[in-house]
Amino acid sequence: MAQAGHAAAFRRETPARAFSRERVTGAGFRAGVIAVTLLALWGLWELYRFIWVETGWTWPFPVNGTTMPHVHTIFKAFDQQSRFDGPLLISVLLRAALFTGKEALVGFLMGASIGFVIAVGLVHSRLAQRAFLPYIVASQTIPMLAVAPMVVVWLQAGWLSVSVIAAYLTFFPVAINTLRGLQSADPRAHELLGTYAASRWKVLWHLRVPASLPYLFSALKVSATASVVGAIIGELPSSIEGGLGGAILNFNQYYSLVPQNLWATNLIAAALGIIFFLGVVILEKLVVRRAPVQTA
């Protein structure tokens, strides 16, 4: 008996170890690929620059220090003062990224929670679905970001109104996908819980919500980026200057003099978007502990 137990333990251990080793080499490989790709992009950028500058080609656009600054010029800009006697650009940008990140995060959390709650409500009422679902679906086909300036001027709530835009962009995909996920559970599982005479809440908690998680997370991945975009765009018409949107507007005005500042700002904005996305990916890894389901 003891021996059998030992054997079982051993068997359990082996694949786990093999798996983790695979994962480590996989992570190393991936990091290598990313490094190589970034270097290749750098190389391509400089090569393109070189060819276009040397040949004087102007299609699709003329290449010079203004349109395509050297990559090292852009990175050097981080370590320079953004204006005379001011702080270093990197600290200005990091502060702006924190500000925009706060707006986006607050909006993201608001939009995701409201979207989830609405989906839970809709899944329990066919009437409500018929009444509201067409509008939620249709809203995905119209350029909602265009409404941003209106919302900001309306609410007069400073950075919070920017968060509302981020929330707005997060809400719709989360509501639709969660609803789809809540409805995705195997009908036989519903029957099984029916034989236990499980209450609505039990079915919701033990079946519908777990079934909806992969759908929810694929929406959250889309929304994470959308909330950052919403925050940046929301800052534009509102004369909120503390964030990345303000920084982009500001450096855009001086683009012909110091183009690298705008490029540097955009690199930080890109990093912020990717950090948001990775945050959701990591959260998904922690929450959904089973075989990944491909959705969306």
Binding site: V33, P134, T141, A146, V153, K221, V229, L244, Y255, F277
Partner: protein
């Protein structure tokens, strides 16, 4: 389903629509909201009419920018995916990077396109729209091209056919639903790209109309412009959906896959 039953399904939605418009109109009158904050729905329709010439030309320009960007970005995305699917290892290695690139707020780069191209021409807006469309189309197409069932490949191999035939008869049809759902997303992104890149600049079309009207507290025109943009966006979306319906008649899961 009978037409009557179908109509009955839509009644709640229609009720909500009418109630929403009525509540909107009434709340303005009851709470005496200043018209520059929230115009009455009727006033927006009215503005559509009085501003029709300006809105028409701005809308037409926006549509051209969005369509151009959509065409360029989507075809580039499909082309890239086809090449990456041919070199599968390269494709799977680059996939995470493409997904990460998809998380970049690309719209923030539109001021740079204004510096690259003549800001008076549609080119910078078209470029923004194209880049916005590129990544989702590329990622989804690649996912479709690589999600073929191995047994279907075996059937083709049993006929001793080459990679090209396998691509044409198995990979491409398998990828088509994925491509279409990406294209539908791309229509919306193209419209957003064409409009929102205006917020960074001083030239443009519908986006500039919205931006300037908001600055002048002329919300009626701003909403009218948004209404036009929405109609154009929905039209683009519906066109792609119709093309999809035509191309994917065989696909029983088309309805379920939906739009998200």
């Amino acid at each position: 389903m009978s037409p009557a039953a179908r109509l009955r399904d839509w009644i709640p939605a229609i009720v909500v629509f009418c109630a929403g418009i009525a509540a909107w109109q009434l709340s303005i009158e009851i709470f005496n909201i200043q018209k520059f904050l929230l115009p009455k729905p009727w006033a927006i329709v009215h503005a559509c009419w009085t501003q029709r010439h300006a809105l028409w030309s701005a809308g037409w320009l926006t549509l051209k920018e969005a369509l151009g960007g959509f065409a360029i970005g989507s075809s580039a995305g499909i082309l890239f995916a086809v090449v990456l699917a041919r070199f599968r290892r390269l494709g799977s290695a680059l996939m995470p990077i493409a997904i990460a690139a998809n998380a970049i707020p690309i719209i923030a780069f539109s001021p740079i396109f204004n510096a690259w191209f003549d800001p008076l021409s549609p080119a910078p807006r078209m470029a923004t729209a194209a880049v916005l469309c590129f990544f989702p189309v590329m990622v989804n197409t690649l996912r479709g091209l690589t999600s073929v069932r191995p047994a279907q490949i075996e059937v083709m191999r049993s006929y001793a056919t080459g990679e090209f035939e396998i691509f044409r008869r198995v990979r491409a049809p398998t990828a088509l639903p994925f491509v279409f759902s990406a294209l539908k997303v791309a229509t919306v992104l193209a419209m957003i790209g064409a409009i929102v890149s205006d917020y960074f600049g001083t030239f443009g079309s519908l986006g500039i109309t919205i931006k300037n009207s908001v600055a002048l507290f002329d919300f009626e025109t701003a909403w009218a412009a948004i209404l036009v943009a929405s109609i154009l966006g929905v039209l683009m979306y519906i066109s792609v959906s119709l093309a999809e319906r035509f191309a994917l008649q065989w696909d029983p899961t088309r309805q379920e896959r939906g739009t998200a």
